[in-house]
Symmetry: C2
Subunit: 209 residues, 2 copies
Amino acid sequence: MTMKSDKFKVDKRHLRTVRTREKLLVAARHVFLENDFQTTTISQIIKRAGVGYGTAYVHFEGKDELLIVLMEDVMDRFHQVAEQPFEPGTAEEAQKQIEQQAMAFLQLAEQEREMLRVVEQAIGISYVIRTKWKQIRERFIERISCDIRYAQRTGLARPDLNPALVARGWFFANEMYLFEVVREETTASIEEIAKTLTAVYTTGLYEHG
Amino acid sequence: MTMKSDKFKVDKRHLRTVRTREKLLVAARHVFLENDFQTTTISQIIKRAGVGYGTAYVHFEGKDELLIVLMEDVMDRFHQVAEQPFEPGTAEEAQKQIEQQAMAFLQLAEQEREMLRVVEQAIGISYVIRTKWKQIRERFIERISCDIRYAQRTGLARPDLNPALVARGWFFANEMYLFEVVREETTASIEEIAKTLTAVYTTGLYEHG
DNA sequence: CAAACAAATTGACACTGTGTCAATATTATC
DNA sequence: GATAATATTGACACAGTGTCAATTTGTTTG
């Protein structure tokens, strides 16, 4: 059958390639999580994968690309959080929805802590990974900007503020807390963090009579 | 005179040490600013300083410590901004003072752009420098927390929010913008950034009737 | 002041990790 | 089975680090 010989052709050669690639990825994940990005070496990875040194460079450009591939799942989950719908009818609804998104964002930090720990280190060191992370960030900010414009159009939000600037500031605070959670450096619960950040963001720190 | 022979003793040996150290620092500044932290090497620095390779390691532990010493001036200026007094009588006064501090903070980014560019790169790579930067950050956050508690005590700020959490979030947004300014990645003026961030921080994004 | 001492400087060396590439091993095709 | 195509391999050249025994420079002492 053509179906089998075409798409599912038992291509032993191609199969081997895929296997080797997979072995490298599995090994890389282990080594990355057990150590950190800086100290992880190609030698450690190929040793664990049971392949020759040069093989790693056949399949990946280097440490960076290996991590980028490993990051993909996590990144998808971030994108999912970024794309949550936002159509509040009242300011209270808006606050609730924003808080939920902030929570979802911080929960991701908890759930993907190990991988994100490595990613954070890599952001500082590797240009490609920094770029990759910036894409996530810009996607969030773009989305938040839209949400703010929507709220401004419907008369919920103050129209005098630049949506892009506000969105950036809001995301930045969330991002920094994300990594604090990843590093387990925070004393407060993520619920409290999300609640507090959102409260300040939506209604401000100061009393208004 | 003892004054001369004691404290100001013409100690040719000690003088040479100081000179060498200075030569290394001057050279390091040049090389750091012309390249970036990653690609700067000890060899480049000692070559520019006109001293032997090993000499660098006599005076400094490595690249990191060299940069830490070069950072000191900038760090002092940050500390100065952090220690600005805060004793507002009204919410409007508070907003004005906070905005001024945010401005001062971002202006520092503009004025010390080159050095901070290197520092940002180094934060990602070097543990000691990351630690150094965290000290600055914690000092700011500590100070902001105090300010918030003061505003809460005087009935200006909402008493239901955790000052430490709010302070962190506020500083994080400022810090991220600081580095955007350093990288010249921002489209808006620092005035507009400071104004917008402060407006959201003090009175919130949403209308309150 | 010269000899002995002390301190600062030096560059060669060992080490670690990277990325490349010609040689080798494996799989496909005729 | 021979030939071609592709995948794997590890030895190699290279770049940077940090160390340390040897050397240079300055100080003190008899």
